[in-house]
Symmetry: D2
Subunit: 319 residues, 4 copies
């Protein structure tokens, strides 16, 4: 699984589209610029009965959350509870109130989260040409703050690739392309419009939570796989944000080249597409399969983590 010596992301993406400077030299939200107030209203126009779904996965679970290799699960600690009052660590407030309080530690990109555009880079340059050294000691460019300040609101389309392929979940390393997305949409009788927020379900996060898949050596997620055509399609469709139920939104390695996380380079760093990873899509997907409606109002607002590389989010989808 080592990359061809000669092949680098710089060479691979030499002819791929790039939106640096498109929204000005200071832009830090990239393709979210496509999500105008008009798109917010277009998203609301899809709502029929007001049923609401939240797409965040639980964090700091007792068993340990699924996380991308190299990270470690978020943790939850009680600071105050009833037993702590009984043992003399805490005293009731005047009048008699007692309280439970707790602490959470985890990666800024714990659980369901949005990546900042500067989260990954190559050739020492982030989204929009910012220097990689701007990440040192905390993001001073293209961090999560401008994205969290703006929110990600518009029309969402769920593409249930797993169901489309007749499986509970895609297999390890299984891939698909934008052509598959279009066929899936056709089968679901939903239209991928320009500026739609794409929610792609592989069943993977559910399979991890259920223990049917696990994270170990040679971890290789299913997901979208790179082609120049795919990148051009995202660019032409002006896709503002990509949401999946995998840990990294794309297949881990490119099958041919062995390059890793190529779409983080092609879509995030070069086009400014905002990635939301580890979404919980199974309940929503079951509902969509039942009523045959795969579009809705999508609203995500990651945590405003100062200088953060990402922010946890619990996106809302309303049908």
């Amino acid at each position: 699984m080592s990359a061809t010596d000669a092949m680098t992301l710089g060479r691979l993406l030499a002819d791929a589209p790039n939106r640096w400077s498109h929204w000005g030299a200071d832009d830090e939200v990239g393709a979210l610029n496509y999500l105008t107030a008009e798109e917010v209203k277009r998203g609301m126009a899809t709502v029929r009965d007001g049923r609401t779904f939240t797409l965040g996965v639980p964090i700091a679970t007792h068993e340990g959350d699924a996380v991308f290799p190299g990270r470690w699960p978020a943790k939850h600690f009680m600071v105050a509870d009833k037993a702590g009052f009984e043992n003399g660590h805490w005293h009731p407030l005047p009048g008699g109130l007692e309280f439970a309080d707790d602490y959470v530690t985890g990666f800024a990109q714990a659980g369901t989260h949005c990546d900042a555009l500067g989260h990954m880079w190559f050739d020492d340059t982030l989204w929009n040409g910012f220097a990689a050294s701007s990440t040192n000691g905390g993001m001073t460019k293209a961090g999560i703050m401008p994205i969290a300040e703006r929110g990600i609101v518009g029309r969402g389309v769920l593409l249930d690739i797993a169901r489309f392929r007749g499986k509970p979940a895609l297999d390890r390393a299984e891939t698909f392309t934008h052509h598959d997305l279009m066929e899936c949409a056709r089968a679901q009788a939903v239209e991928i419009l320009p500026r739609s927020i794409l929610l792609i379900r592989t069943g993977w996060v559910g399979a991890l939570a259920a223990g049917r898949e696990s994270i170990g050596e040679n971890y290789w997620e299913p997901g979208l796989t790179f082609s120049l055509d795919l990148v051009r399609w995202f660019d032409e469709m002006q896709i503002p944000s990509l949401v999946t139920d995998t840990l990294a939104n794309e297949t881990t390695y490119e099958p041919g080249s062995g390059l890793m996380l190529v779409l983080h380079a092609a879509l995030m760093r070069n086009l400014g597409v905002v990635f939301t990873e580890m979404a919980s899509l199974d309940v929503l997907a079951a509902d969509c399969a039942a009523d045959r409606r795969y579009e809705g109002f999508y609203c995500a607002s990651p945590a405003k983590v100062s200088k953060g590389t990402g922010g946890s989010a619990n996106p809302v989808f309303i049908k």
Copy 2:
């Protein structure tokens, strides 16, 4: 500031309304039950031009976030950055991608957040009659999970008490009542409808952030102050959720009795009203003052912290 010996919350609230069992013995979301799908659509119906505001405060700031006395500020740590790659701690992925990654530690109720209904109690009993011992080692009843699973979505009304009183921010320990809220609404030409989510602006969080107020000994926030009438009004109006720009959503001590955080007992524990605290309302308020429209679509979805007493949120308000 010590409570009258004879006065306790139990006595004070003996005749106050209580909604335990109203939504079943297992209910953990309380007044959010008022937010039906119908209310979600009612919220959307208020939207005119699709302009979006996010109401979270930044967390893990370099200066240290404002937190209620007894808590401590959230912290942000870089795990990987460009300099770490240069110093040999990290190696580029196959193809050349590098990454920034980071870690956040903080209270589950860090920054803008929703309280779980079991966060505070008296007489050893939480919301809906759950035992206080259910908080031990992690919330097993009335934690934040059911609220985070559901989301808080509906029609929001901003009540700008500070502007109504002609001040940039209320003073330390300054109070107001539901009558003030109604007068403020009248002055703003907005209607508080049954089941409206109330957003109350005091200017306080902005004053803390700007250093005009500070947290020290004898800290005493401005805010709503208890009366039986006020509790009855919240109950009759079926207010599902109370959002303010103070650290604890109410004046810290009751002026007469010295009792502390009485509305946490009267509204949260007894009625199941969900509190969202430390919201950033100044930008939204300036916009509302400019266009004279104080209602909108409100959507909050706190983090799904397993067993948590609360969850951080970055609420979205759309006009």
Copy 3:
């Protein structure tokens, strides 16, 4: 590996020695009372050339430290470094000093550490009869503080069981008894005196660090195994402290009964023997094998963690 239904620690240890109340109803340091000033000097009297060894394992390593199942590795984060100064997060002090600063999170019992006597219990009762509820929200009895205040200083004897059995490390689940300790001492030509601090080397921590052993499902450490005679021997020998290079100082399960961590009950809870776990003994052992001297001055002083169940330590051994 499930325990016999009928067998419990209470029954198993019904006739085993117990030192509760021996040093008074308030005692929290147990067998460390054997380490009088006289024993400190006896330890020093063993020193010949002043060569010094430190027995702590590295913590917060990049690869992740070995920890007992259910815990997770300590983590290290930079707060300030040169690159952070260059990126504007920090400013030089008057005169020009810059600084690196960092943060560590981990279990109180991270890396090499001493257990508090109240760390484990059965029948709702800790060492010396303290109630198990005294652990709630933080140790109020038999925590690490009194041990850390006193220190563990005396004559140390290294018993290199691995070398004695001619192996680099004991095998998974391999056991030995106090008779083996005595034979090993004889072979090493060192005497186990009353009140000696016992350092037992199995080679296990080194094997974990080298990747020759790993922590996974069905983890089962080699180590001492329970018998009534062994407990009596520890009691009669007045062993103040047991130090090993395994994660839990004893074989994980009793071979016959399947009971878990029986010596934590028999030696720690009942006799007040202080356990130091995860020591790094390989370098010391090589030196002892070279000069055939297995005794020395031992000095450990765990961190003074308020209300802690344990404290990390970097014990010193001087020959």
Copy 4:
């Protein structure tokens, strides 16, 4: 309190002694090289009756530990306790053992601790000429590991400046020099020998713990103050390590120049003297005043924090 524009540490220390390369280009322990095995035995030779003192301050206290401005106190969290078992979060081990477990977060330099030689620098260069960029993302040169591996063991001399000046504690910003140290030693009838580890008591940490002093704006510790003569004296006396009961081992600002923490530059960075800060010396000092013996065996072994800038320690002093 701003530095003279023209004055920098580089100019101030242009003629001061410097021990870079003295112990080789790779040396990371500096003046600890003076602590030979001979010095270890010399330290032991001072011991008369074996009485033992531990010099660490408690960490993660409920009230919040004293820390240098810019840091924040260590925190302690229970992970498991009896109440957590009762509430179903944990289950007894086979046989019936239950356990308390806990987590600690804090600066590597929390509580009583040793600084790594690379902790502070100027002119982009650490101890021994290592590049400041070697601190990026974790210490790769002159971190705490080599010091923790070696330990700090030898003859300790307590110099009780506070008692010498007839005060419970020195005043804010009060200074003293090496001449004062020598006079104090004379008054105490103890000799400062070459290679002695110096423990200097100001009473400050005790005053902070008792609330008689506090950390706020314009914090200014008492302590040693810079002169070229003082630096030469430390060099000629081959002082390996400086231990004090202040947060930073020296007066915060140089009275004349306003330069900050000059001895960190002159002694730590240039001479390789290892600093141990925030020691608890009051109990030891009272004992020394009582028996008029101010020397003893000193043994400190900081935590082996990988890549750390420092490590917590609980030094032992034996008389």
